[in-house]
Amino acid sequence: MSIDVAERDRTPPSGPEQTTTGRQRVLAPPVTGQELVLIGVIAVLWAVLAFTTPAFFTPSSIQPLVASVAPIALIGIGMTVVIITGGIDVSVGAAIAVCSVITAKLVLVQADQSLLVAVIISVIVGGLLGLLNGVLIAYGRVHAIIITFGTANIFLWIALKIFNSTTVNNIPDTLAPLGNGAAGRTFGVPHSFLITVVLAAIAWYYLRHTAGGRHFFAIGGDQLAAQLAGVKVRQRILAAYVLTGLLVGLASTFVVAQGSNLGQNVGGGKELAVIAAVVIGGTSITGGRGSVLGTVLGALLVQTVASGVTQLGWRSELSDLFVGVAIIIAVGADLLRERARGKR
């Protein structure tokens, strides 16, 4: 069924209860409570950091912060869609390793290709890895977490094969327009962050206001019901993983652009960081509910905490503790609201 849910919302259904209690919202409000809380928390954090460490509100501190948000938030867009359909992808860390080593070593160091070629190849490689996940999950009908645990190992093998036991050194600065340096900024804003914001805005609109976007929510809410309603469930699930793969490819170019060396541990643990950003952003891990805006805010919160911990002169490992606490608080607040909603 290609009826837009938002469209259906606009035509008031005829029922006696609607007149008194007001319309029942089908579509979540543009900015949900979770996102308001996140905006508030980030604002408070930034204010506190600005007062305690004078160096925080300077371009040299904010620029690396938003640049480090970019890869996490970008992959988070795809991960949000995947989790909305009720799946998960724990192979993104290993996929980052494959895409970045291919881009850095084969495309830039050995073939010395241009920026455009590097980005295209990285995105295609990422898309292929996502395609493998998607085919196995959509058509093998196996739980996503198991398949992606398996493919994560396979991807890591591919990456280490290409690394061939050494780090990649002397990467040419072809990707500088996507990096952290002066070439990577316009009016002081890192390009990687701009790209992320634009893509997130498109994804946000697509997921909320088009029939195709609502299909993902339908699948996550009830896969069988979605199928019976005419949603092409398998194709949609496949598309979610391919999208994640493509975005991993793009994010990998940001990672490569950050320096002239690439270590073999690139991407390690990033899958958990992305999932953390998504769940902090209010996306339900059981599927059917979530938003890209929340994910971007979640990524921003996580990186703010990491940046704040180092700026306050604390041990950088402590930031993980705060990330853990942030997950508990964010998801806990969501649980409480859900419970209150259920009782009403």
Partner: protein
């Protein structure tokens, strides 16, 4: 006794498997073998173990390996099975408890509890038994935190244990300023845990076996098996994993049972911390989380061992066989490749095996199990 009608432990455990029709009349031998391979994970694993061992022995006999793949080598490799299988049991209990049960924090608990063990035994000079007791207790408390978050507050297990993974990992690193503890008593532990010993009576006929197998793995194996197959608590875990609501209507304390599963997972992780410290001869703050960490291999073992990720299905024997398969396969791969290529191919083999097992699970369920 909450489920008095079910006397055979195996009968309830694989509730969905019990729907599988038995060998049908007139089915050929070949068809029956295929059915056993596809529906009985233990049969499949046993066949795979035999194949792997025979393959590497043949390779070794033809001189393709860098060292002999003999029984001594296979026996020595079993030391790697100790932490792997024990954490596999931890994941088994948690995944069995259902409602998306999973424990990503086991590696981080191993790190943190290992540091506590390092302090207690290596620096404060506590007696060994007390140090082990406090380590296991700390693991249990950390697991209880997971249990409370999941069972009582209602966090999805993936999120709760992801959060505690971050938190415990961070505390383990900060607690001793990122420094490992490797004082004299800790270094001496290697002898009493990882060293291979000759068994009494039959020792001269079989290869020497690492001590850790007898000191840690077998006791844990027996306790977990008794717990799951022979106690009321075990029946309850299977019950809540199979059907949460039905279990509640059967007057089972669903929350306490589920919280207990995470606590047991923590207790086992605490014990693994002791093993790991002994094996490394050092209490390392990143012991359980470096590289791929310990949680992912443990979950892999559980899935390979036939534990259904949806809960309620899974057995101790599957975990044991899956561990043995992985350990002996990795040991063979290490001999087949030189340098860094070995560990890399271990990743590939693990990944392929996991995807293959998962696809096979799905196929077997559709082919033989009726509606999945």
């Amino acid at each position: 006794m909450t489920v008095p009608t079910l006397s055979e432990p195996e009968a309830t455990a694989p509730d969905k498997q019990s729907r599988t029709p038995g060998p049908e009349r007139g089915e050929s031998l070949a068809a029956r073998v295929v059915r056993a391979l596809l529906t009985q994970r233990i049969v499949l694993l046993a066949v795979l173990i035999v194949l792997v061992v025979v393959y590497f022995i043949v390779l070794g006999a033809n001189g393709y390996l860098t060292a002999a793949y003999d029984f001594d080598y296979m026996s020595a490799a079993l030391i790697n099975a100790v932490p792997l299988a024990m954490l596999g049991f931890a994941e088994l209990i948690v995944i069995l408890s259902g409602r998306g049960g999973i424990d990503l924090s086991v590696g981080a608990i191993v790190s943190l509890a290992g540091m506590i063990f390092g302090f207690a035994y290596g620096q404060w000079g506590w007696p060994l038994w007390l140090a082990i007791a406090i380590t296991v207790l700390v693991g249990g408390v950390l697991g209880l935190v997971n249990g409370i978050l999941v069972a009582y507050i209602g966090f999805p297990a993936l999120i709760a244990t992801l959060a505690t993974y971050y938190a415990y990992k961070s505390i383990a690193v900060v607690i001793n300023n990122q420094r490992p503890i490797s004082t004299r008593p800790i270094q001496n532990l290697y002898d009493s845990t990882a060293r291979s010993v000759e068994l009494p009576l039959i020792g001269s006929y079989i290869p020497n076996v690492p001590k850790g197998i007898f000191l840690f793995l077998l006791p844990t194996l027996i306790v977990v098996w008794l717990l799951l197959a022979r106690t009321t608590y075990g029946r309850r875990v299977y019950a809540i994993g199979t059907n949460d609501v039905a279990a509640r209507w059967s007057a089972i304390g669903v929350r306490a049972t589920r919280a207990g599963a995470y606590t047991i997972s923590g207790l086992i992780s605490g014990l693994v911390a002791v093993v790991t410290v002994g094996q490394f001869a050092s209490a390392r703050p990143d012991a359980g989380v470096s590289g791929n960490g310990m949680a992912l291999p443990a979950i892999t073992i559980a899935v390979l061992g036939g534990v259904a990720i949806t809960g309620g299905i899974g057995r101790v024997s599957g975990i044991v066989l899956a561990t043995v398969l992985i350990v002996w396969m990795n040991a063979g791969i290490r001999l087949a490749f030189e340098g860094n290529a070995g560990p890399q191919y271990q990743l590939l083999a693990l990944g392929v095996l996991l995807v293959f097992a998962a696809l096979l699970n799905g196929f077997a369920l559709r082919r033989y199990g009726g509606a999945g």
